[in-house]
């Protein structure tokens, strides 16, 4: 999709939304969506990852809603493991590159991309395909610099004081770009868990109270926007995977302002409810976001083929 098509599509969608809806026929969320405010949670289905990402962000009201001209943006994908994109352990490179393009198009001054991987960072950046995808863009894909971790008081009970990457905290806009996959302890890793990549220090200790630590982390630094890559998902042997048989291809992108809502909706891909995830429950308890998606303005361009269970 080129820009002209996109603008045309947006204009048509926008004007369609302005049409008065007959009351009582459409469900409640559609009536909400028909109001002037763009939706806060979007789920697209089908399409190439790059186009789907554009579609999802456009449905949210466009990147301009989040990135103002001259902003410093940090995109935090999941580049945690030395796996190729088709093994669904890392965010799809096209999703990351499209988000970076959208930020640049919205006038971002700097776009920084990084992760603190579990495996060797060089291999993760290259083998995930993300380094190559960002190569043609004016994007700073950097390795984490140990000196830029700063001990910060998170205000939490478990995490308390922890080294956190300054660039993530100081950025004007933090875009969380996780992939949806299985995890042995937290059951799933999506947006909230992906934020662990901005933590320094010995992260192995965090697993003792993982759910609460994650909730405290997202409460301390809620991302401006979460774009969950579920074009491929890993349903077993996560978060590292490695077996193509463990990969499914829902072709879904979920995007939203509320990290809790995105993860709750993402859980449905694995036939789970958001409330079945400890870190989602903890995050709701801390008031980070909304777990009951009926209370959100939502949009499912391309149709929603799977029942959402609150």
């Amino acid at each position: 999709m080129d820009r002209r098509q996109f603008l045309l599509g947006s204009a048509l969608t926008g004007s369609a939304l302005l049409l008065p809806a007959p009351p009582g026929i459409l469900p409640g969320w559609w009536r909400q969506a028909a109001a002037a405010e763009p939706p806060d949670l979007v789920r697209t289905s089908g399409g190439e990852p790059a186009a789907a990402t554009r579609r999802a962000v456009a449905a949210l009201g466009g990147m301009e809603r989040f990135v103002s001209r001259g902003a410093v943006v940090v995109i935090k994908p999941n580049i945690g493991f030395d796996r190729r994109p088709e093994l669904a352990a890392t965010t799809h490179p096209a999703v990351v590159a499209t988000l970076a393009e959208l930020c640049l198009e919205a006038g971002a001054r700097r776009v920084k991309v990084f992760d603190r991987p579990v495996n060797d960072a060089r291999r993760c950046y290259v083998q995930s395909g993300i380094a190559a995808a960002l190569e043609p863009l004016e994007v700073e894909l950097k390795y984490v610099d140990q000196r830029r971790f700063r001990d910060m008081d998170t205000g939490g009970d478990v995490l308390r004081r922890w080294p956190i990457y300054r660039e993530a905290v100081e950025a004007d806009v933090l875009i969380n770009a996780p992939i949806a996959k299985h995890h042995g302890l937290s059951r799933l890793t999506m947006g909230i868990k992906n934020l662990m990549g901005i933590l320094g220090g010995n992260r192995s200790r965090i697993h003792q109270r993982l759910d609460q630590a994650l909730a405290e982390l997202v409460a301390f630094i809620p991302p401006t926007l979460t774009v969950l890559d579920a074009t491929r998902i890993l349903v077993a042997n996560g978060p590292q995977g490695g077996n193509p048989d463990d990969v499914r291809h829902p072709g879904v992108i979920i995007a939203g302002r509320d990290p809790v809502a995105v993860d709750s909706l993402g859980a449905a891909l694995f036939d789970l409810r958001g409330s079945e995830l400890g870190f989602v429950r903890e995050a709701i308890r801390l008031g980070v976001g909304e777990g009951n998606l009926d209370r959100l303005r939502r949009s499912w361009p391309g149709g929603f083929d799977r029942l959402y269970r609150p």
């Binding site: 030395d82 579990v118 495996n119 060797d120 060089r122 291999r123 993760c124 950046y125 290259v126 083998q127 380094a131 390795y143 000196r147 995890h183 042995g184 302890l185 010995n202 192995s204 200790r205 697993h207 003792q208 109270r209 993982l210 042997n237 978060p239 590292q240 995977g241 490695g242 077996n243 463990d246």
Partner: protein
């Protein structure tokens, strides 16, 4: 300082030395993964060209190393031109020249020591015939790469980083911005991706610095008296076609002798009838200053062709330009010509029958002495975890030249030099220390850079099936097992597609009777490849609750645990 002249061979020699030193350093820096599956540079090039490694590997393993032809190039070059490798190419020799700049030019001071290097060479060759590979200890290329890898480069990196970190932390306006730009540039060019840490950096770099410091005692001390590769090339240079002639008219000013890096006695009077020494130097105005050295004492040694590095210093410094080099019948073929080994009895570097046999006997006798420190077969050292692709231990020790290339290239810094874990024979061979760094699942770099096939190059598919050991849990230290605290980090990071670490969900009772649900890790011995990432990231960080030992390593027939292994891994009921 003399100005370089393009018609001087010495100038060309200096250019060649600079080129090869820089090439060496470039290849050294490029011995580092950048995220791809291959390095893209022939980083072991200098080792490939090393005839000493070729010969000892040949003797120790009775197999022809893959790099056979390249080392023969150096042999051929030596047969043609003498020890040009020492004078024009060897990066270690060039470093000696640089260190020697701070020292005075002097005549050879210990002519009798010239034979040491031959004796060392013979000891190594004799040991190699019995399968003990010790050439790497003193082979100049191996020694240089090892010392840089383990000692000098980490120290350099640490010093530079500490400097820039300090400036960064001060946050002085302006200065920090410039320094950060410079630091970024250095990181992109000469600094390592991560600060290397090696357990023996002090010992190995201490030896290296000592060897360089010997230049202050005598220039190119190492090359003259100790270098076994130099000794080997000296043997070949007996047949060198390039030989040196001194025309009539030498007044024995001794300048050539002082500038001879090899101690080849170019000022020797024994080779030609010389006029009596003039009482006073009448031609002083035409001479270059002779470095304020006293007149050389009359020497009994002849011109030692084998010690000549073909550096062309003597040609260059001779005030009367009497020295010339030309192609002639090799010294060894000429009647009365003097090759290095054996020199005429009683003239210095005499390698008499007694010394020769003594050295050979020492090399041979050393083998059982080294070998009796070995654990018997089937009782392998638990912490001797060899890199993936390492051949069976006996052959491994016959091949490994301790060059440290694998340690340099290891992405995680987990490959460390052994001290005594592999016996004295295996000193400075590589072992994986998972606490330092695990074996990256898809990485095959160590096998790619190994010059002798001690670590065979593996495909990624082979690598991910190669066991280097097995992990086992220490249930007395493991958080879920011993303390009822959730953890599972080991399971999360386990890289095999079907995880070798699996979880059992249990409910335990806490101190106050509360029920706690948690997952306890178990290990699947068939799936575990011993990569050690579980040990590396275990939160019980001082003495991890999951540790890898060498048992089950694919390369060993004896060091096995399972009776039956469906993965087809070698076990004792199968042939080698």
């Amino acid at each position: 300082m003399r100005l370089p002249r393009l018609n001087s061979l010495r100038t060309w020699r200096l250019l060649s030395q600079a080129f090869f030193l820089l090439l060496f350093l470039l290849l050294f820096l490029e011995t580092e993964g950048k995220g791809g599956d291959e390095l893209g540079w022939p980083v072991k090039l200098f080792l490939d060209f090393d005839p000493l490694i070729l010969l000892t590997t040949l003797l120790a393993t009775q197999t022809v190393p893959v790099t056979f032809l390249l080392a023969l190039v150096v042999v051929g070059l030596t047969l043609l031109l003498g020890r040009v490798f020492c004078g024009w190419i060897c990066p270690f020799g060039t470093l000696h020249n640089l260190c020697g700049l701070a020292a005075r030019h002097r005549l050879i001071r210990h002519p009798a020591w010239l034979q040491w290097k031959y004796l060392l060479l013979i000891i190594m060759l004799a040991a190699a015939t019995l399968g003990v590979q010790q050439a790497g200890l003193l082979d100049p290329v191996s020694l240089l790469i090892r010392s840089l890898t383990v000692g000098i480069y980490p120290a350099f990196s640490h010093a530079v980083s500490a400097l820039f970190d300090t400036i960064y932390l001060w946050q002085i306006g302006g200065i920090s911005a410039v320094s950060e730009w410079l630091y970024g540039f250095l990181r992109a060019t000469v600094l390592p991706f991560r600060q290397p840490v090696f357990s023996q950096s002090l010992l190995i770099s201490g030896l290296f610095i000592t060897i360089l410091a010997l230049n202050f005692h005598e220039r190119r001390f190492w090359c003259r008296y100790l270098c076994p590769l130099g000794a080997l090339l000296a043997l070949f240079s007996r047949w060198s076609l390039l030989s040196r002639e001194v025309a009539e008219g030498c007044n024995h000013c001794g300048a050539c002798g002082r500038h001879c890096p090899g101690g080849a006695e170019p000022h020797s009077r024994r080779d030609f009838a010389a006029p009596p020494r003039p009482a006073a130097r009448t031609t002083k105005s035409t001479e270059r200053p002779a470095d304020d050295a006293p007149s050389p004492p009359a020497t009994a040694l002849p011109w030692l062709a084998g010690e000549c590095h073909a550096c062309f210093n003597c040609d260059d410094v001779c005030p009367r330009r009497l020295i010339s080099f030309g192609f002639r019948r090799p010294a060894a073929w000429r009647k009365g010509g003097r090759a290095t080994l054996p020199a005429p009895a009683g003239t210095g570097p005499d390698l008499g029958r007694r010394q020769l046999l003594g050295a050979a006997a020492l090399g041979i006798a050393g083998v059982p002495l080294l070998r009796i420190s070995h654990p018997p077969e089937g009782r392998a050292q638990p912490l001797l975890i060899r890199p993936p692709g390492a051949v069976p231990e006996k052959e491994f020790l016959g091949r490994c030249v301790k060059c440290g290339e694998c340690m340099k290239v290891c992405l995680t810094g987990g490959l460390q030099p052994t001290l005594l874990e592999a016996g004295l024979e295996g000193l400075w061979t590589p072992k994986l220390v998972p606490r330092r760094g695990y074996c990256e699942y898809h990485c095959t770099l160590c096998g790619q850079v190994c010059p002798t096939g001690a670590i065979e190059p593996l495909t990624i598919a082979e690598k991910t099936e190669t066991k280097i050991g097995l992990a086992m849990f220490d249930r007395n230290r493991c958080l879920p097992w011993a303390h009822g605290i959730p953890c599972i980090v080991c399971e999360e990071v386990c890289p095999t597609p079907k995880k070798a670490i699996w979880l059992e969900e249990v409910e335990v009772t806490g101190r106050d009777g509360q029920r706690v649900r948690l997952k306890r890790p178990h290990l699947d011995l068939e799936l575990c490849i011993g990569c050690g990432i579980c040990e590396h990231l275990c939160p019980v960080s001082d003495k991890p609750a999951v540790r890898v030992t060498s048992i089950g390593e694919s390369r060993s027939r004896e060091n096995q645990l399972l009776l039956y292994n469906p993965a087809g891994i070698l076990t004792s009921n199968q042939p080698y």
